[in-house]
Symmetry: C2
Subunit: 198 residues, 2 copies
DNA sequence: GTCTTTCTCTAGCGTCCGCTACACAAAAAC
DNA sequence: GTTTTTGTGTAGCGGACGCTAGAGAAAGAC
């Protein structure tokens, strides 16, 4: 494999261009980002974009994968690495507060904001499913904590997970509306006071 | 005033048509709602729409006023009628959980979701300002509670208000993603556990 | 060098967008 | 009745959208 390519080589770096596309979709959302916006930011012509990435929707789907593996990967790490359910959920929220307000890229969570007003139902549904799947992974981690006796035996993992998800989404909206990392950390402080103890 | 109109009378009820427009904007957002969608749902032709409501943007602004005075009015009532800051904030969240999931109209809060991915910066900014203004009214009510000794003297009204705002926005997103009123009530239960006591 | 393969550029396709000119219809004023 | 005023329907404007045909440019294979 990886045999030498014949023909004229691509004149741009595909990975760099993909990152530029990601930033555009993150900032403006799927539909509000036009192919013209993309080609301008990526520094390439429309035919090059279509040759390298397929159509706009396929490009967006590739952007989603890239996002999940980079800016959106902190959640999975927190779930895997923290010793307790509470520590995992708090770390998810703390890192969200940090990433959502980090300078140098758009604020908030792309999965929450990129297809809010979307006339392509499949795209809207894809992101909605992603959000609900994330909450389901929270619930699974919390249930582990319940089973381990970290939480009261009658604690409802699904409800706690939805609570964390709602706060997470609130943090994202707040960061879009101008809140600072300190502002969001204060929200997390208050949110974690609701966490049940044995 | 109210002297008899000359000329051919309007063949549709303006208020009914405005409510239909509100539902469309609430459901799909400002930009994803086309004039064609509006005329179809309102049951009128495009020239009638433009004669009665001005352009699309002016119609949306009138829809915002109507929303604030109807579906969005519960917040102001809670702030004015409840005796304590805590009761006011909890009622805001409880009524949000109810309204956001009420059958018969779109779910969630229009001010939060109608201009998320919006290429008209003025519209996006108008709704952002509305959201932040709402949080500021929360802060003012909470400060009253602090001054009245309902809360610890060092309680930060602005931070508490932002917390309530974040939970409010999380409830709205959750309702859009399919959460039931019971689901949201459970979120409010947990959220109010974070509220400070003297 | 020539041939083949692949990328890039110009130019423009068809469609939908918000919006409106214009002719006609329906009411009050007279 | 006629005149005046205003709403409605048809039909289409200019522009932006996502996308692509076709010609030329730039590389490896030989």
């Amino acid at each position: 494999m990886a045999t030498k390519q014949r023909g004229r080589p691509r004149s741009f770096d595909r990975d760099t261009a993909l990152e530029k596309a990601l930033r555009q979709f993150w900032e403006h959302g799927y539909e509000a980002t036009t192919v013209s916006d993309l080609t301008r930011e990526m520094g390439i012509g429309a035919p090059s974009l279509y040759a390298a990435f397929g159509d706009k929707r396929t490009l967006f789907e590739e952007v989603l994968v890239r996002y999940a593996g980079s800016y959106g990967a902190f959640g999975g790490r927190a779930l895997a690495e923290e010793p307790t359910a509470r520590a995992a959920m708090e770390r998810v929220l703390r890192e969200a507060a940090a990433v959502f307000t980090e300078p140098g890229h758009p604020h908030g969570c792309m999965v929450i904001h990129a297809a809010t007003n979307c006339t392509t139902p499949e795209i809207e549904q894809t992101l909605r499913a992603q959000r609900n799947a994330n909450i389901a992974t929270f619930a699974a981690r919390i249930q582990q904590g319940v089973d381990a006796g970290e939480l009261p035996g009658d604690a409802d993992a699904a409800r706690l997970a939805r609570y964390v998800g709602a706060v997470f989404q609130g943090l994202s909206q707040q960061s879009r509306d101008g809140a600072s990392r300190q502002d969001l950390d204060a929200v997390v402080d208050l949110a974690m006071r609701g966490w049940p103890t044995v």
